[in-house]
Subunit: 146 residues, 2 copies
DNA sequence: ATGCAATCTCAAGCTAAGTTGAGGTCAAGC
DNA sequence: GCTTGACCTCAACTTAGCTTGAGATTGCAT
């Protein structure tokens, strides 16, 4: 248990490219956890670099922070996750990517049909299946589509 | 030029499922345009039903309203777009879907490599190519990724 | 032991994409 | 000709994901 196992928020920020304010925000949202020094400063585990990396990747896939939190819940809290832990979570993520690709392919072929008729109309096109959320989290008229 | 060419905001709302307030909002943002009656009420073209439909589809693909506005700029303002106009714009959209699918496939294979090593680290994984915006509009630490 | 950068908390502000409500007007049917 | 529902504007509120700023404290280097 060398001192090197703990890093400051600034170090975590530099290693991940994520702003200090954003790291505090993630902690507030429950995506990260820290210990405190006697002087009330945060100390993170080195493995939190990987945790933040995961957050970044998942965000780029379109996951909301709340969804990422659910995924991260599969990891042991407050101690170093094993390689196996990360592999499991990575595989879940790959499945989500697969889902999105399938959905996009479906949408694409529906759009192809629409190009044929130029309709783009709510009645004729299949593009409005309420359950297919392409964005996974996307914006949109929430009250209507959700 | 029968009177039937014009519809009220309420009719547009009912035909598209989009709330009246959202339609006003879209107009304010420049995605829709309307004429006014002597009593200051909005009158839309019938073809705006299709226009709103397009907005909905594009949103579900993850486009921001500002991006949708750019796409719609290709349509003639204030007069009925032809079938060809719509087909052109549909094809553009299909190309965007193709791009997203390609990007997802790339990400997926990179993630596969990562599963092998369980790394998920910024240095080793290729998952952080700053130019690949998977979300197309996605959230994320804007200041960092943009 | 002191100085300065890094931290801390807390409140306020920002953008996107709308919704909600107040207070007022329009228009269509009886 | 009046009532009622649809419409109008404008301002304020909402959620997500942060950033910015103020004012106070900590902790490493000299």
């Amino acid at each position: 248990m060398t001192r090197a196992n703990f890093i400051t928020i600034g170090q975590l920020s530099k290693r991940t490219g994520v702003a200090v304010s954003a790291i505090r925000f993630y902690e507030e949202k429950g995506l990260l956890h820290s210990l405190r020094t006697s002087g009330n400063q945060r100390r993170f585990l080195r493995s939190d670099i990987r945790r933040v990396s995961f957050i970044l990747i998942a965000q780029r896939l379109g996951l909301a922070l709340s969804e990422i939190e659910e995924q991260l819940a599969g990891l042991p809290e407050e101690r170093n996750p094993t390689l196996g832990d990360w592999q499991k979570i990575s595989r879940q993520m790959r499945d989500q990517i697969d889902d999105r690709i399938r959905l996009l392919n479906r949408t694409r072929s529906q759009l192809d049909q629409c190009i044929g008729c130029g309709c783009l109309s709510l009645q004729k096109c299949q593009l409005y299946n309420k359950d297919d959320k392409l964005g996974l989290k996307g914006p949109g008229p929430r009250a209507v589509l959700d």
